[in-house]
Symmetry: C2
Subunit: 220 residues, 2 copies
């Protein structure tokens, strides 16, 4: 039995995903044509219909495929030991979230696509929010609520989660500005670990202090 | 004396800046042509050369013009009273930075342009970093160093500044994700004030706790 046709099909699919990721990132969803993707992939238009159905389905496949690949490389919340404290779980969450954001195995176009989604959201963002962001956010909320203890109100949990996420996202979203304002900052594994340690420490200190004030009835 | 020609010149310049902002935001610097900008502005190509010199100068004018306009609406660090404490100055910094980020008077294309600069930096980002971001960052560093007191090392000041900036930028950069994950979150003046108050409180608690640990020689 000759497996050549299957191999070719798999190759075409992968080439289309790669070419589509690049093209959508360069031109945006609206300005991208299936024709241009096929030109870059060296495939014919029928292949897009065969493998994905159409332009929108191809776009969703590009987003979810590359989000899933990055999640696999850096699993959600790392792998905290059974019975890990909320402090340990926060550290593990921050470390793996930062690794995923700074993931060098992720193609450059994925960051661009997500940046585009932040300005011109499409159904792709609904999908990413639902399948990837929501479970992460739920997990972080649980950790933060446990850390806040009696100080945990719904609003405060939400605000503290935002503080944790914002500190991590900064190193992704503001990177070229960081390069200009803090020229010594490197992002090798050693520095990434130091950033995760700082974000964890900063957040734990803030949250603990909130908890203590609630316990003693004192303000900040 | 007839002032008509001057008014027309001013109008053309403004129309070109607006049209250029939109076009650069839609297509990116490289894919934008002066011809397309002129088409949208209803101006001729000579007007771009007359008012700005060329495409790159027009792009820099668009960026700096709109950054300056937003700075004017929300002055750097607000206007803290003379003799204000470092705590008050941090609150004032966070409030005005957040107002500027969420500035509704700013055209939508400015955010897109800055997002593009974060993925494909041009000389425009160098200019924005130098003229706008650096003075802000210097001011925040001074406040944070004063708050940290004996705990202030160069590295820790930089990390804590990043924590403050990241918490603010989150509400700008991650807005569509926030809309999906925290559907109740509004951004009216009342909520913006609550966000600024939380970011200030979270940061002050973290920094104070670092300072106390340094003073007593205890770890976190």
């Amino acid at each position: 039995m000759n497996t050549q046709p299957d191999l070719t099909r798999a190759d075409t699919r992968t080439r289309l995903l790669e070419a589509a990721g690049e093209t959508f990132a360069d031109l945006g969803f609206r300005n991208t044509t299936v024709r241009e993707i096929c030109r870059r992939a060296g495939a014919n238009i029928a292949a897009v219909h065969y493998h994905f159905g159409g332009k929108e389905e191809l776009y969703l496949a590009v987003l979810t495929h590359s989000a899933a690949a990055s999640m696999e490389r850096n699993p959600l919340g790392g792998a905290p030991a059974p019975g890990a404290t909320a402090e340990d779980r926060l550290e593990s969450f921050v470390t793996s979230f930062l690794e995923r954001l700074l993931d060098e195995g992720r193609p450059a176009w994925f960051g661009k696509l997500m940046a585009r989604e932040m300005f011109e959201p499409t159904r792709g963002l609904d999908r990413i929010a639902q399948e990837f962001a929501r479970p992460q956010y739920g997990r972080l909320s649980e950790i933060v609520a446990e850390l806040l203890g009696p100080a945990a109100t719904e609003t405060r949990v939400k605000l503290c989660c935002s503080s944790v996420l914002g500190q991590c996202l900064f190193y992704k979203h503001a990177r070229p500005m960081i390069d200009r304002l803090m020229p010594g900052q490197a992002f090798e594994p050693e520095q990434r670990a130091a950033l995760a340690a700082h974000i964890t420490e900063f957040s734990l200190r803030a949250i603990r202090s909130m908890r203590e004030s609630a316990a003693t009835g004192r303000g900040g």
